[in-house]
C-alpha cells in the first residue's frame, strides 16, 4: 500500500517500494489558479530535501516545487508541459511532477500525514 506524506510547502509524496511520486497538492493548485507552465528536473538529477526541484507557474505567480526528500530523480512527467491544465484538474493523481529514488527513508518521518496536512491547511 502506498504511503502518502505532505510538506508545509504543499508538496505530496506517494511512496511505494522506495520510490516517491511527487507533485503539488490539490490545495496548492487551488491557491495558484490556472497553471500555464511547469519546469521539471532532468532525470538523474540529485535532489536534496527542502531544495527547489521544479517550478510551477500560474497566471498569477511562479512557485518553486521543493523536493520532499533527498534522492535521485528517476522519472519526470514530461507530458505535463503540454497539458499544464492537468495540474488544476488532477494535482494529486495524473499531474505528478517527478519520481524520486528515496535516499533516506527516515526523512519521511518529519512530514505530515493526510490528517495533519488537512489541519495544517485549515480543513
Amino acid at each position: 500500500m502506498a504511503l502518502v506524506r505532505y510538506t508545509k510547502d504543499h508538496e505530496y509524496i506517494r511512496v511505494e517500494d522506495g520510490i516517491g511520486t511527487v507533485g503539488i497538492t490539490h490545495h496548492a493548485q487551488e491557491q495558484l489558479g490556472d497553471v500555464v507552465y511547469v519546469e521539471l528536473p532532468e532525470v538523474g538529477k540529485a535532489v536534496k530535501q527542502g531544495e527547489p526541484a521544479a517550478v510551477v507557474e500560474s497566471v498569477k505567480a511562479a512557485s518553486e516545487v521543493y523536493a520532499p526528500v533527498s534522492g535521485e530523480v528517476i522519472e519526470a512527467n514530461t507530458g505535463l508541459a503540454a497539458n499544464t491544465a492537468l495540474v488544476n484538474e488532477d494535482a494529486e493523481g495524473a499531474a505528478w511532477f517527478m519520481k524520486i529514488r528515496i535516499a533516506n527513508p527516515a526523512e519521511l518521518d518529519g512530514l505530515m500525514d493526510a490528517d495533519a496536512y488537512k489541519s495544517f491547511i485549515g480543513g
Binding site: G33, D34, V36, Y37, E39, V55, E57, S58, V59, K60, A62, T84, N88
Partner: protein, 356 residues
C-alpha cells in the same frame, strides 16, 4: 481576495483567470472598479476649467466637446507622469464641469496636487461615494442596449449621462481591456443593484483583478506604478498621441522642455512590447539584455497571455533596441529566455468608433 490599493478585491472568481480573460474577449465581463478615484473639476465655464487643467496635463482639454472623453496624464516638472487619467466633459448639464477618473493608488496624491496647483482657479470635488462598474467585451453593447439604449449609441470615447432603471449614471464607451466596452459611474448606494442586474445577463460573467491585468497587458495599456511613473515621460511611454497638437507648439504644461525635446529628437528610451519564447512569464523587474548578454533595460509588466498562449511583457530599452523584430533576451530565474520586440498592442483593439 487581496488588498489592492487598500481595497478588498478578488483576484478571480471561482472560474479562474484564464476563463475570465477569454470570456471577456469573446462575450462580456463585468468589473467592479470602484476603487478608482473619481472627482469633478468645476468652474465658471468650460474654457476656465479647461485652461486650468491644461496647466497640469499636455492634452487639448479646451477642444474637448460635450459628450466626449480624453486620456491624459498629470505631469511633474521633470516631464514625468504623476498619474494617468480619463477626463470627460458631460454631454448636458451646467457648463464648466469635467469628470476625472484616476488610479486608486494615486488618488490622494492626484487630488492634493490638483488642489494645490489650481484649487484657487477652479473647484475640485472628489467623489468618494461614487462607484464605477465596467462592462467590457464584444457583447457589451448588446447588454447595454437592453438597459441603457442611449449608452449603446455612444462612439468610442463618448460620454453621456444616462438614467439606467431610474439610476443616474455617467457612462463612457471606453475601458481597460482593448475591447469595446463601457464604464458606468454611479452613486455607490445603487452600485450593487446595477451590478447584480448586469451580471445576471447571459453574456456576462464577473471578472477579477488577475484577468483585468492580463487583458490590459495584451492591449498594451499602461499600469501606473509599473509601466509609467514619475520618471517616465509620455513620449518614452509611447503616449505622445495623447499630447494635443496645439499643446506641442504652445507648451504650458509641466516638463514641456523635456517633452518637446523628446518629440523633436526622440527619447533616449522607449516602452516596448516583448513576446517571449515559451510560457514562463517574466515579471516586473526582470532584466532585459541584448543577444550578447548586456543588460539594457527592465521589464515593467509581464504575464502569460491567455489569448496568445505565450508569455508577453512590456519594458523600457534604449531607443536603438526598440524596433519591432529586434531580438533580445529576458532573465527568468537565472536563465536567459529569447524574446523579440513586438508592435503594441499584442491583441488588436476593437474599439467601436463612430464617424463624427
Amino acid at each position: 481576495m487581496v488588498s489592492f490599493a487598500g481595497y478588498d478585491m478578488p483576484v478571480s472568481y471561482p472560474g479562474g483567470i484564464l476563463k475570465e480573460h477569454l470570456h471577456t474577449r469573446e462575450q462580456a465581463g463585468i468589473f467592479d472598479v470602484s476603487h478608482m478615484g473619481q472627482a469633478v473639476l468645476s468652474g465658471r465655464d468650460h474654457e476656465t476649467v479647461a485652461a486650468a487643467l491644461e496647466t497640469l496635463v499636455a492634452a487639448d482639454i479646451l477642444a474637448l466637446k460635450p459628450g466626449a472623453q480624453r486620456y491624459t496624464q498629470l505631469l511633474n516638472d521633470q516631464g514625468g507622469i504623476i498619474d494617468d487619467l480619463m477626463v470627460a466633459r458631460p454631454a448636458a448639464g451646467p457648463d464648466g464641469r469635467l469628470h476625472l477618473v484616476v488610479n486608486a493608488a494615486r488618488k490622494t496624491v492626484d487630488f492634493l496636487h490638483i488642489e494645490a496647483m489650481i484649487g484657487h482657479r477652479v473647484r475640485l470635488d472628489p467623489l468618494p461615494e461614487q462607484a464605477l462598474i465596467a462592462v467590457q467585451g464584444p457583447k457589451a453593447v448588446e447588454v447595454m442596449a437592453r438597459h441603457a439604449p442611449a449608452a449603446a449609441e455612444l462612439g468610442f470615447m463618448g460620454a453621456a449621462e444616462v438614467t439606467v432603471h431610474g439610476i443616474p449614471c455617467l457612462i463612457s464607451r471606453s475601458g481597460y481591456t482593448g475591447e469595446d466596452g463601457f464604464e458606468i459611474s454611479l452613486a455607490a448606494c445603487h452600485a450593487e443593484d446595477l451590478f447584480r442586474l448586469l451580471v445576471t445577463e447571459p453574456e456576462v460573467i464577473p471578472i477579477g483583478l488577475g484577468a483585468r491585468d492580463t487583458l490590459r497587458l495584451e492591449a498594451g495599456l499602461c499600469l501606473y506604478g509599473q509601466d509609467i511613473d514619475e520618471t517616465t515621460s509620455p513620449v518614452e511611454a509611447g503616449l505622445e498621441w495623447s499630447i494635443g497638437k496645439r499643446r506641442r507648439g504652445e507648451g504650458g504644461f509641466p516638463g514641456a522642455a523635456r517633452i518637446r525635446r523628446e518629440l523633436a529628437e526622440g527619447p533616449t528610451r522607449r516602452r516596448i512590447g516583448l513576446k517571449l519564447e515559451g510560457r514562463a512569464a517574466a515579471r516586473a523587474g526582470s532584466a532585459v539584455m541584448t543577444p550578447q548578454g548586456e543588460e539594457i533595460g527592465r521589464i515593467t509588466s509581464g504575464a502569460f497571455s491567455p489569448s496568445l498562449g505565450q508569455a508577453i511583457a512590456m519594458g523600457y530599452v534604449p531607443t536603438d533596441y526598440a524596433a519591432p523584430g529586434q531580438q533580445l533576451r529576458v532573465e527568468i530565474r537565472g536563465s536567459a529566455v529569447e524574446a523579440w520586440v513586438t508592435q503594441l498592442p499584442f491583441v488588436a483593439h476593437r474599439y467601436v468608433r463612430h464617424k463624427s
